[in-house]
Point group: C2
Chain length 137, copies 2
DNA sequence: TTAGCTGTTATATACAACGTATAACAAGAA
DNA sequence: TTCTTGTTATACGTTGTATATAACAGCTAA
């Protein structure tokens, strides 16, 4: 998977990194048990500091997306273990300001929902091959 | 309208302020031509610095939500002038990471869309009386 | 005119977050 | 042993956030 960092973006580098890996998991480009590049390797590849990568990796781990495999290093966690029943509560807090803004900016509810559906469609493209037996660990 | 600031929140104060005013506009609690408290008054009311309020107000103005009326101070802009046809493009960039995260966290597309619908319902409650003739200016 | 309010700007300070840099550690692999 | 892994510590510079004091122009009302 190719990671693209925009140094001109207002979004912190470690957040951009984190978002792209999460998106990779959501689309199925990154599968459970798949290993991520080492912090030093990835930092070198995309031309940023090791600690910035480490910060992103650290958050991915603490939020359940990855875990440390003694042999492989950082690997993608099992999809079941990522799930969080209480997530929708945190999500609502993040979505609310976006919807309020959207209303003011002239978007209808249908406009907004269709935009979301489009993003789901886009992300689910890679999900066809996502069916998998639980890999050996 | 009551503004509530959470000093323990990780969200910057001027962003919290901005979000609540935008939400107020979306729900109809704040109507066009209605005046907002002065930067000094609001700062005093909620116990924060004048410049923090000014920063939030400044962004609201530059994003079209408010304008400066020589007599009244800061007032809510006309709803038509708030609209921005290109907004959905910026919106998509903000929504995408949330949807990717939601997929990983086990939410289905229906779960997500229903959550959005619920927020729309909640925000639109105050919209019944939002029908208005263009007020004098 | 004077006094008081408005938004706005300037300057300064303190703190936290971000990103970089160098270095070191324990643990496992070759 | 040598190399790589994640991890931690320390330090530095930059930027963003929030505060504080002060001043300005423009308008309102006494």
């Amino acid at each position: 998977m190719i990671i693209k960092i925009d140094l001109a973006s207002e979004i912190a580098i470690y957040i951009q990194l984190k978002n792209q890996i999460i998106e990779g998991i959501a689309t199925g480009q990154l599968r459970p048990d798949e290993q991520l590049p080492s912090v030093r390797q990835l930092a070198s590849d995309i031309g940023i500091n090791m600690h910035t990568v480490n910060k992103g990796y650290g958050q991915l781990k603490s939020e359940g997306y990855t875990l440390i495999h003694k042999r492989k290093g950082v690997i993608i966690n099992n999809l079941e273990d990522m799930k969080d029943p209480s997530y929708s509560e945190k999500l609502e807090i993040n979505i609310k300001p976006l919807i309020a803004e959207s209303i003011c900016k002239g978007l209808t509810e249908s406009d907004y929902l269709n935009l979301c559906k489009g993003i789901f469609k886009q992300l689910k493209k890679g999900e066809i091959n996502k069916s998998e037996l639980n890999p050996n660990r």
